[in-house]
Each structure stands twice: as C-alpha cells, then as structure tokens.
C-alpha cells in the first residue's frame, strides 16, 4: 500500500473563534497504480484532505504513511515527498510565472537539484505527455488558451516524475473539448506510466468512466469508499449530500421502476447501451 491515512484530523485556526474541524477521523489506504475518484460537495474537505498527502498541511492529529514511512517522523524529507506525490491545484494555470512555457516546466525538476540536461529532458517529456507541441515551447505561458495553460501547469508537476498524481478539479472552467482532452491524458498517464491517480471532481460522469474506487466526502468525513457501481447504487444518499449519480444511473432506475428488467448498476453510457440493447432483443 502506497498511501495510508490513519485517523487523520485537521482543525483550521484551532483555539480561536474561527476554528473549523475540516476533516474528521479519516482512514484509508491507496494501492500503487490505483485510480481514485474523490467526490464531495463544496466545503466537504476534499482540498484539505489532498494537501495532507504531500505534507503541505500538517494534520492536527493522526498518522500518514507514504511507502511505509510515517511522513511526520523527524528528519523525514518533505521536499522529497512532494516530488513523489505531485499535486496539481485547482486552476493550476494561476501558478505559471516564467517567460516561456519550457522554462516554467523546468522549474519543478530544477528544484529537485537535478543537472540541467536531465531537467530539460524531463520538461520536454512532460510537455509531450500532455500534448503540448514543439511550436509552443518558446511561447509565453500567458499567451496560451485556457486549456493549454492548464496542460502546461500539469506538465510542470509531471516533470518531477511523481509516483502519485493528485489533481484538484482539473477540468473546472474548461470547455467540453478541453475537458475531454485533459481527462483522456490523465487516463493515458494512468494506463501507460502506471501512475497512481487521485482525481478530485464534481462531475460524476467523468469519474464513472475512469476511477477504480470512489471516495465520498461529506462535512469533513469520508463516508464511502468503494467501486463506482456500489457508490452510485446509493444515489439517494448521495443526493442528501448535494451530490448525484451519473445521468445513466437515473435512466436505468427509472426503467426498472417501469417494470423493465435492467441491471441498475450501469454507470457509464456504454454499459447502459449494452443493457438497453439486451432488453430490446428479447
């Protein structure tokens, strides 16, 4: 198991009138190469939770293990952890600062203290991975389109060659085309490089297609951790948390209520299509 959380709590502004229990008693483990979807309503503690994974926030109490080591142990190298657990924040394009796209992506590996050639090689590789062409390498990052900027920012994290990639709503504010591009790239990284992916999202459709397991957060608590099929079968409970199942889950449930014999655990459009075709053939 790559990442283990053991009863992790975090309280913002502890001891003042503004104190807020952001995450409560969170325990889970994530295996190497898994694709985890993290869903929850705004303010449910998702962003706080992921910032614990690379040590940007220190838990008020509880333990976190990465590759078997307690990250809060004395002398544990947090900077090294941050290179192993890549975190892409929401709207990551807001962190771009260099004069060219290439220089910006080199920033991460340079901070790791690698030699120049290695840094540039990694940056080039990372930019290729996210599909940024050679013609854009010398462009200013501020001239790119929204989707391109975001891909550059993701490349900036990928260039550090992390083992785990955490993305906080990587598709927020993009058009449908840019959204599909990014998700496709992430799925590709997961498939080809064996990266562990933790994807925070609002879109249930996105996550149903890709994630091995779903983590559902509500008011700072981790209330469900299971496969998409199991989680979405609890769609009534999800609604109470201001979440929803994918559209097809609703379609299948309505069909079932009308007396058709369909399997309601279809979560993707393809699965639903199969089910409905099967029904029609009889």
């Amino acid at each position: 198991m790559q990442i283990i959380f053991d009863k992790v709590n975090y309280i913002y502004s502890g001891g003042t009138a503004f104190a807020r229990h952001a995450i409560k008693d969170i325990s889970f483990s994530i295996n190497k190469g898994e694709f985890i979807g993290l869903i929850g309503h705004t303010g449910s503690g998702k962003s706080t939770l992921i910032q614990h994974m690379n040590g940007l926030i220190k838990a008020t109490n509880g333990h976190i293990y990465f590759n078997g080591q307690d990250i809060y142990e004395k002398n544990y190298d947090l900077r090294k952890l941050r290179s192993k657990v890549g975190l892409v924040f929401q709207y990551p394009e807001h962190q771009l600062f260099e004069t060219t796209v290439f220089k910006d992506v080199v920033f991460g590996p340079t901070n790791l203290g690698l030699d120049k050639l290695e840094c540039e090689l990694r940056a080039y590789e990372a930019l290729k991975m996210v599909g940024i062409g050679d013609d854009l390498l010398d462009a200013s990052p501020f001239e790119l389109s929204g989707g391109q900027k975001r891909r550059v920012a993701i490349a900036g994290v990928l260039a550090m060659k992390p083992e785990v990639l955490i993305l906080d709503e990587p598709t927020a504010g993009l058009d449908p085309r840019g959204r599909d591009d990014i998700l496709e790239k992430i799925a590709e990284l997961h498939r080809d490089s064996g990266l562990t992916i933790i994807l925070v999202t609002h879109s249930m459709e996105d996550i149903a297609n890709y994630a091995d397991r779903l983590f559902v957060m509500n008011r700072g608590e981790l209330v469900m951790q299971d496969t998409a099929k199991v989680v979405f079968s609890h769609y009534k409970e999800l609604e109470q948390m201001h979440l929803a199942a994918p559209q097809v889950t609703y379609v299948m449930n309505v069909l079932k209520d009308k007396g058709y014999r369909v399997n309601t655990d279809a979560t993707t459009i393809d699965e639903a299509k199969e089910e409905i075709l099967k029904l029609l053939q009889y």
Binding site: A17, H94, G156, M160
Partner: protein
C-alpha cells in the same frame, strides 16, 4: 502561517460595541489616541487602563485573541524600549563601560512601552468590532463636508473599501500560490538574502497577474451594474445615530475630560 496576523482583522460577535455607529468608533478612537499624550502621571495610566479594560469587556472579543495580535509588534516594542533605555539623558543609575541606564531612560522606556500597547489595543479594538465596510461608510460620512472643496470623498472611500476587501483575498491567493509552488519543490525558507529574494519571483509574478485580473473583473462587474461614482447615489443602510450612539459619545467625552483634568492637575501638583 499568514493567517496568524490578527491586527486589523474583524472579529464577528454581538456586542454593544459591534452595534455602535462606525462614526462613534472612529471619533472615539481618535480621541483615545490623542488622550494618550495628554498626561504623564501614574493616575493617567490607571484611568486609561480602566477605560480600556471596560471597553474590551464590552466588546466580547476574547483577550487571548487580542493578545495574539500584539505578538506582531513585539519587535517594534523592543526596538523602542532599547533606544529609550540607553539614549535618554538623566541621572545614571547603572553603568557598564559606555552603556548606561538613567532614571529618566528607565521611566521613558516603561511608560512609552505602555503607551504604545494602549495605542495599539485601542485602535485594534476598533477594527475588531467594525467591518471594513462600516469603517469606510463611517469615514465617508465624516468627511462629507470636504465634498464642498472638491475632495472626491466618495471615490476615496470606495477605493479604500475595495483595497480593504482585497487584503484577505490576496492573502488567501498568496497562500495558495505558495503551496502550489511548494508542491513543485520551491523553497521559500532557506538560503541567503539574495537566494530568498529570488525564490519570491515564482510567488510574486502570479500574485500580480492575479491581482490585475481580479481588478479587471471587478471594474467590469461594477461597470455592468452602471456604477458611475457617488453623485446621487443612495445607501441601502444609511447611517443614523441611535440613542446608544449618543450615550457612547457622552462616555468618550467624559473619559476625555477626565484625562485632560488629570493632565492639568499633575502640572499643578508636581
């Protein structure tokens, strides 16, 4: 880390002080600051301390919270105490080599320190109990007469409230960008002055970009709602004095009179 600064912050609570008209608090704070320099005797300090403690009790802001804000000025206090202690002429009471402490120096260091604490306690109490919006509303109303001599009072107060409104936003943004760059291995803490200054570039460039972007968006949003300055603009909640405000004015003036009286008395007596 940045969130620990409590000076100038608003502390939400429901006290008589929170409900007072911001003009009362502004004028009261001004009188309080002036009053600190009108006396030089122990009785004066006691009078101010009594007044302050009463106000703090009334404000329902926990003392722990206020004290946390005072940490920020410890350096300034030490700096001032140092200069007062060693560079005030008077009768020497203690001397090592060329460093000497005089009776006047000691007195100055202690009393100036106390005055500074009073000053900061008093003025931060105003910001603890008044939202930035109320504050600028109050200022605008107080300065309104200046409109006649062509001072753009409304515009100034609008700029002030926007600036104040943006402080927490920019703090949050700084925190976010800092974390994002730390996630890319940036190091803001170690190294010499030059290296540290250089390490701020990945923080400052995105911060400025975002500040400009936000300013642009805000200007656009204001324009879209037909904002065109203060002429003929009315308020949803116009400021009107209540009975409690007159009562507060009376209390502040009484306090001011007492301090002045003490100041005059001490001149006569000592």
């Amino acid at each position: 880390m940045i969130r620990d600064i409590t000076i100038g912050q608003y502390y939400p609570s429901d006290s008589i002080l929170h409900r007072l008209d911001p003009r009362v608090k502004l004028i009261g704070t001004f009188l309080f600051i002036v009053s600190l320099f009108l006396f030089d005797s122990l009785y004066g300090y006691i009078a101010v301390a009594v007044f302050l403690v009463t106000i703090i009790k009334l404000s329902k802001v926990p003392f722990r919270f206020i004290a946390k804000g005072m940490k920020a000025i410890v350096v300034l206090m030490l700096f001032m105490a140092f200069f007062n202690l060693f560079f005030t002429p008077g009768n020497t009471i203690f001397q090592i080599w060329i460093i000497k402490i005089t009776d006047n120096g000691l007195r100055q260091a202690i009393f100036m320190g106390i005055r500074l604490i009073f000053l900061i306690l008093g003025s931060s109490l105003m910001t603890f109990t008044t939202t930035p919006n109320q504050l600028t509303d109050g200022l605008e109303k107080i300065m309104k007469p200046l409109n006649r001599i062509k001072v753009p009072v409304h515009e100034i107060s609008m700029m002030m409230s926007i600036a104040l409104r943006f402080i927490p936003i920019l703090l949050e943004e700084t925190d976010k960008i800092m974390k994002a760059q730390m996630a890319r291995g940036a190091d803001f803490e170690s190294g010499g002055v030059l290296k540290r200054a250089k390490s701020l570039i990945p923080l400052l460039v995105p911060l400025f970009v975002s500040a400009f972007r936000r300013a642009n968006d805000l200007a656009m949003a204001m324009e879209a709602r037909c904002y065109r300055g203060g002429d003929g603009r009315t308020k949803m909640k116009p400021l009107r004095y209540q009975n409690r405000d007159y009562l507060a004015y009376t209390c502040v003036l009484a306090y001011f009179a007492i301090v002045i009286a003490l100041g005059i008395l001490e001149n006569r007596l000592f």
